[in-house]
């Protein structure tokens, strides 16, 4: 059996991932996070008299804090596993990724451990977020002046 035949044999015997089911779960959970955050924004606006811009920043901070706290308490990873990309794509995922990396490396020292590995997973988000923001900003200036 040559290598290509073997690859065919492997793909024949490997069960297919249920991508559509995972996508629906992610859509519902991710959407739920959005709805809950919107609720927080409304509460902040109504009860604390914040402007919408301020309320959005506060709501974002609250979500990040809750996700980090749940990660540190040790049960958020089980939720992430079940919710597929639903908890990874919103800002909860960003908080969770830095917090889980920090926990992993807390014994390796502040500089060589936590410092060097804090953005192990989130580094890509920051880098490519900044790069794409730069290009979209140029595109925005070119198109709309």
């Amino acid at each position: 059996m040559n290598k290509d035949e073997y690859k065919k044999l492997v793909s024949r015997l490997t069960p297919k991932e249920m991508k559509s089911k995972n996508a629906i779960v992610a859509f519902l959970v991710g959407g739920l996070i959005g709805v809950l955050t919107e609720l927080v924004i409304i509460i902040l606006m109504e009860c604390f008299g914040l402007s919408r811009v301020d309320a959005c920043s506060w709501a974002c901070l609250i979500v990040i804090f809750i996700a980090s706290l749940f990660t540190a308490l040790g049960f958020f990873d089980n939720w992430v596993t079940k919710a597929k990309a639903g908890l990874i794509l919103p800002t909860t995922g960003f908080a969770h990724s830095v917090m889980s990396s920090a926990l992993d490396y807390k014994r390796d020292g502040f500089i060589t451990g936590i410092g060097a590995n804090f953005f192990k997973l989130a580094g890509s988000v920051i880098l490519y977020g900044i790069v794409s923001a730069f290009f979209f900003a140029i595109l925005g200036v070119v198109l709309y002046g």
Binding site: M1, K3, Y6, K7, L9, V10, L13, T14, P15, E17, N22, T71, G74, F76, D77, N78, W79, V80, T81, K84, A85, I88, H96, S97, M99, S100, S101, L103, D104, R107, K120, L121
Partner: protein, 324 residues
């Protein structure tokens, strides 16, 4: 020739420390079970070192072999096999650290058997361990990240197993062994190790049967290391198509540890998987007199898979005979 026959090598005793999830799986009786992954230590690395120390301590104590062990051989999955190095430093016994990923235990049995057969040494300890969370951190994502996994993924078992290999006659004889060749069928998916390792298992099995002029039915059971549920099917199909061999009395250790309800995807993996099943299940079954174990190892690192290199694999076979 890669196959060696032994006339005078036996396994005297073994000791197992099993992880918390493993102890609630299919095999519930182990020498020791861990209640949690820290095992009373501050880090998972220290926990795994402690597991190996406890195994060696108990083997020495139970068999009153304090000064009689001539050599310890072993390894684990950690970078530079530090776990085994740190565990064995507490005993002033000569040590050979070895690595062939999840085939490490079979490799240490083969090397120990050779020394004993030649009369160079009389008693040796073969040891290996793996810890799910150490493996997760090294090969996959941070422990608390909990990234969703493909159904082909195997779950690294937690545990440590050691065995005394000796020239003193006992119930279990190491009869022969075959050293495997590295196979690379251009698989690149580190989450599908069954597909990576099946060709290595098939190749060493055929070498073994051809060298010793045996038929597959000679063995009461063939136990592969950690191919998992999907890997098992791939191996069976590969043997049938490529070599025309139909394997009947076949068991994969990766499918024998956890229950399906424990959500471990395709089954168990890790160097400890095969010895855990061998010493706590296969050898306890009176039906099996002639046993062939094939430990399979995937020889990749995180860097090689990130650089999209293909994953080579190795397997070693050891034939055991239960006397009396």
């Amino acid at each position: 020739m890669a196959s060696i026959k032994f006339n005078n090598v036996y396994i005297k005793d073994s000791f197992t420390v099993a992880g918390p999830l493993e102890s609630e799986g299919q095999i519930r009786k182990f020498d020791l079970s861990m209640d949690d992954y820290y095992y009373g230590e501050k880090t998972f690395i220290d926990a795994e070192i402690k597991m190996q120390k406890i195994v060696i301590d108990n083997l020495l104590y139970r068999n009153k072999m304090g000064k009689k062990i001539d050599l310890i051989l072993g390894g684990d999955l950690s970078n530079q096999i530090t776990i085994t190095n740190f565990a064995v430093k507490n005993f002033s016994i000569p040590f050979l650290g070895i690595y062939s990923a999840c085939a490490t235990f079979a490799e240490s049995l083969i090397i120990a058997s050779n020394f004993i057969e030649n009369g160079t040494i009389k008693n040796a300890i073969a040891i290996t361990s793996s810890h799910n969370l150490n493996a997760e951190r090294q090969f996959r994502f941070p422990i608390e990240y909990g990234a969703p996994k493909a159904s082909t993924t195997t779950f690294t078992a937690t545990g440590a197993v050691g065995a005394i290999v000796t020239n003193e006659k006992s119930n279990v004889k190491i009869e022969s062994a075959t050293i495997g060749t590295i196979q690379d069928y251009e698989q690149k998916d580190a989450t599908h190790m069954g597909a990576v390792m099946s060709p290595a298992a098939a190749s060493v099995l055929m070498d073994h049967l051809n060298d010793l002029k045996r038929n597959i039915d000679y063995y009461d059971v063939v136990v592969t290391g950690d191919l998992g549920r999907i890997g098992m099917d791939i191996l069976k199909e590969f043997l049938k198509i490529n070599y025309g061999v139909k394997i009947k009395n076949y068991m994969d250790a990766g499918c024998e540890i956890f229950l399906k309800s424990q959500e471990v995807y395709s089954g168990s993996s890790g160097p400890v998987t095969l010895p855990l099943v061998l010493f706590n299940k296969v050898l306890n079954n009176k039906k099996y007199k002639k046993i062939l174990i094939i430990a399979t190892g995937s020889l990749h690192s995180k860097d090689t898979t990130n650089q999209k290199k293909t994953i080579p694999s190795i397997a070693h076979a050891v034939s055991l005979e239960v006397l009396s």
